[in-house]
Subunit: 239 residues, 2 copies
């Protein structure tokens, strides 16, 4: 059983949430665009392939199934990879948390592109400064505070045991550390359980091997998490 | 079996996507905040209730299950209400489309609140004008063009037969007609199958009865879909 993952080359992007699940589970997969180029993606977007037509990457092909949208892909993969507890209630709870992570990821993306995703950052920098300040002062404390309490209740895990949600929380924390180091330095004392979760995920053998490999691209200013010093800062009004 | 829906009073908001599914199926439900006030919502957000803790409304309570995030709620309700075709492939495809609708809904919301969701529109109007122009000229044609092709392939339905996705597409088209009448007048010739779907959903007996009832609030400038004439306009560069 080989999975085919389709995502743009050159960035971690939203594809990384899927990659982490496949890597953690030791699944057999091909990162198609890294082998065949980004051109391999377009025929799916143009509706020229069987299966559900994706609006955008990432999408995953598994035999005749094409699955798009990160949370949907992880919802489908969870039971197959042993990355979600059994039972409908747990699967719904995992999906709910993953969708809340997706909302946060969109807000993080929009902090550097608040006006138009297809336009340059430099052409929307003033708006980005205002949106990033709101992200740092209002949204990150609210989202990360929520996830901290979820992890506290889950005894160190989002769902009481290891799952794809933990892997995604790891990725969000690492991405924010790269993009907003000052804000995260100020927030870190408030999220000790998320920090422990991050360290525990990083130490998982398959994840540690993946992070040390060439398959793990570095964060950069083409992805979702972008480090623009003009956007970073503290989390309180005086910062 | 009585469902309890929790959502802010006074607006359709994201709760409306869930309401339409419950109404269409003739399900027994209570719109709790409309009976008990918005204060009924807070204890769930504060983690003082059993079940998965929601980050935000809407959420649905069904016996001891609490389910948040619109797409997750509809994914859970779909089989129970007969609003999704049977089988994993169809359920994943429905979820994928619903998540793409959710992305569009967020972009529509952010067109009037591109900087800070908790701040006033009037304090971010200049940025909103730029973002709304991008929505009209780039994003709406792309999203609605995608859904038009999905509905063409589905023979007039998103999934080949009636489903919760059709109900949500109806809501998005109606909401955009209210918020962006000029843009939608320009786009309508390009989305004939979405227009037919909209009319077909509106004519479903339970939906027609609901739309004529006091339970269906009017669109207004507190919700996701807001009509601000300064933001509306055409879809081409010269508009």
């Amino acid at each position: 059983m080989t999975y085919q993952l389709y995502y743009w080359t050159g960035i971690q992007g939203r594809g990384e949430f899927v990659r982490l699940a496949l890597e953690d589970a030791g699944a057999d997969y091909i990162d198609v665009a890294r082998v065949a180029g980004d051109d391999a993606i377009q025929p799916f977007l143009d509706g020229e392939r069987d299966g559900a037509r994706p609006f955008a990457p990432p999408f995953l092909q598994s035999r005749d199934l094409v699955i798009a949208q990160v949370a949907n892909i992880l919802h489908a993969l969870g039971p197959r990879l042993g990355l979600v507890p059994e039972g409908e209630a747990a699967r719904l709870q995992a999906l709910q948390l993953q969708l809340t992570i997706a909302d946060l990821v969109t807000e993080i993306h929009d902090s550097h592109h608040p006006i138009a995703s297809a336009a340059y950052y430099e052409d929307q920098q003033d708006a980005a400064k205002r949106r990033a300040q709101d992200l740092r002062m209002q949204r990150l404390p609210k989202f990360l505070g929520y996830f901290e309490q979820i992890v506290v209740r889950g005894g160190g895990h989002a769902l009481g045991t290891h799952s794809y949600v933990d892997l995604s929380l790891f990725q969000v924390v690492r991405g924010l550390d790269y993009a907003y180091p000052q804000a995260m330095a100020a927030l870190s004392p408030k999220i000790p359980q998320l920090r422990k979760l991050e360290a525990r995920v990083a130490a998982r053998p398959n994840i540690a091997a993946y992070l040390a490999s060439e398959r793990r691209l570095a964060f950069n200013t083409n992805g979702i998490f972008r480090h623009y010093p003009a956007l970073d800062g503290g989390i309180a009004a005086q910062d």
